[in-house]
Symmetry: C2
Subunit: 386 residues, 2 copies
Amino acid sequence: MPKRVGIIGVGSTKFGELWDYSFRDLITEAGTKAITDAGIDGKDIEALYIGSMSPGLFAEQEHISALVADYAGLSGIPATRVEAACASGGLALREAYIAIKSGLFDIVVAGGVEKMTDVSTESAMINLMGAGDQEWEAFKGVTFPALYALMTRRHMFEYGTTIEQISMVSVKNHHNATLNPNAQFQFEVSIEDVMNSPIVADPLRLLHCSPITDGASAVILASEEKAKKLSDEVVWISASALATDTIALHDRKSLSRINSSVIAARNAYEQAKIKPKDIDFAEVHDCFSIAEIMAIEALGFCEFGNGGKITEDGETALDGSIPINPSGGLKAKGHPVGATGIAQAVEAVLQLTGRAGRRQVDDAEIGLIHNVGGSGATSVVHILER
Amino acid sequence: MPKRVGIIGVGSTKFGELWDYSFRDLITEAGTKAITDAGIDGKDIEALYIGSMSPGLFAEQEHISALVADYAGLSGIPATRVEAACASGGLALREAYIAIKSGLFDIVVAGGVEKMTDVSTESAMINLMGAGDQEWEAFKGVTFPALYALMTRRHMFEYGTTIEQISMVSVKNHHNATLNPNAQFQFEVSIEDVMNSPIVADPLRLLHCSPITDGASAVILASEEKAKKLSDEVVWISASALATDTIALHDRKSLSRINSSVIAARNAYEQAKIKPKDIDFAEVHDCFSIAEIMAIEALGFCEFGNGGKITEDGETALDGSIPINPSGGLKAKGHPVGATGIAQAVEAVLQLTGRAGRRQVDDAEIGLIHNVGGSGATSVVHILER
């Protein structure tokens, strides 16, 4: 087994309502950028993993593994699509990592893509409910904002978390996105803006919700030996963890914590032989602003119930003790669901190699990325180190 | 890296129009049968891979990795869905194999499932076109029978293959299915029945086409050390190969051969250090009867252009020199697309352990399984040995 697996190149499209980009354009651009960034040639790539949640529902196209290999000029190579709803990107990173760990490949590309704006917003909401329990949730009329609204209410009830604290997540992430030229929403919002935005699912308002987004991201992974030959600024994957929970929210022991994230994080820290306090920054899955609070609790950056408090105290800001979502997060960078997990890896690599521009976290040496599927039925956690 | 990976248990549902089974029922039954067959406990399973082509389009349910883990009582474990259209099952087997090769896991379940009959036949045809090129094929009105009809015509033109020879594939596979209690169509058809069945896409007739099917299959994989401890009739995976081609048929160099199958087969024979003549039987991807002929050519069981001839000569019959699709194949066993690749592994294991009943191939020691996605954009080939 190769000792380590590293990332030697990254690329992303801009995120947003990209009406002049097709599904194919998006992933081809991201892949090309990653290959260029790695300084390799397409023919060096031995295998491809691609994460996408619902290309069948959003673009009537399945079989995107072969499609992406084809449009990247890589036809012939082994290509695999993986899916775990909004955690599809993180899963692609993980399966690419495992493929190199197996010793079968030395250089593998992992991509994520979603083209969401070619259908109506209503259709998009229905498609996204495929991430939840179709028979016990969607069929009853529950949407994703509603699921997270239930979790929000429970978190407020159990821990006294306030809607102001939850709103501060949105304010912070919008601020960070003003420093990210690829972000969908590069503008500030005030706490009043958030608190006065339209109700989506009480108590969640529009500015507590991540948007519908088109986008793609890609990273090039390599075995330790190859990585060292090809790059002098390798970012190492020191942990890769995946855990699941019940698909339906009502079957969980707790509505106020994401247990799959707790399991995956514990596993990841053990693999990397570090503690939460050793993490310099994290990209976490803030599909709704409450989700960032539940994430930082599950990842051990604070006690359970204290996520709102440390957000309010500014600890999660760019200059705080544990900067969360320097990229702007799903809330403001945008959330092309299958791309998100890979976009998090792209951001972590930029941070760890000092290429994050105006949103650079000082002395970033260890980063954590956290990608969630559905209402928490899947969590993927990776730790990256320079 | 573990030296070898073995299969220690298998299970399948019956295949057919199973209106009293839901998606969940199907995969839960197959998984439970495989666990029972392996003589292990659910808690011994460390990771899950599940292949399904279009649960989003057929059942409005994505995120089936966590769903299947949940309904199997395995919530918590790492669970990954993979997809490559009709090759999703073969891909699940391969990724489970890679996961064990990586040394991260010792016991992994690989499953495949598709619930296709809850939508109209017209919807099913549209959904299945997601396996082809949406923009260049589906949008122009091309269906899968039409794509394979084009390949059929070209094969007939280049090699003089006759429609009678192609029909003999259907006759043979229907015969084999009469010996398979899980098959969808357990009845004989004559060559006249095939030649007089309704035209679907000239020259392909109804009895040249595999059906729309509900079904699920599962296999339990284990590292060499664990496999030997847990079972005294392990079937070893001596090769796992995956290759791709262009998504659109018109971009291929040849319409009469499946190049991804040629590449995957060559790679598989190298891994197993054997030749095509060493194979005792094969389960191949006969989504249309022409596909079996192209498969046996790509796999090296005869020269290119000779597939019709050796079928006519009876070489591919149960008592022939290279029995093909003893299970009845996709044509008559049925083709629940995501399950097919795993169902092929189940059949191979039954054959190699002498449990194939009335369709048992004599002295079966080495079997090959061959699973294709779309019109050949993905091919997965595994070689299994007792």
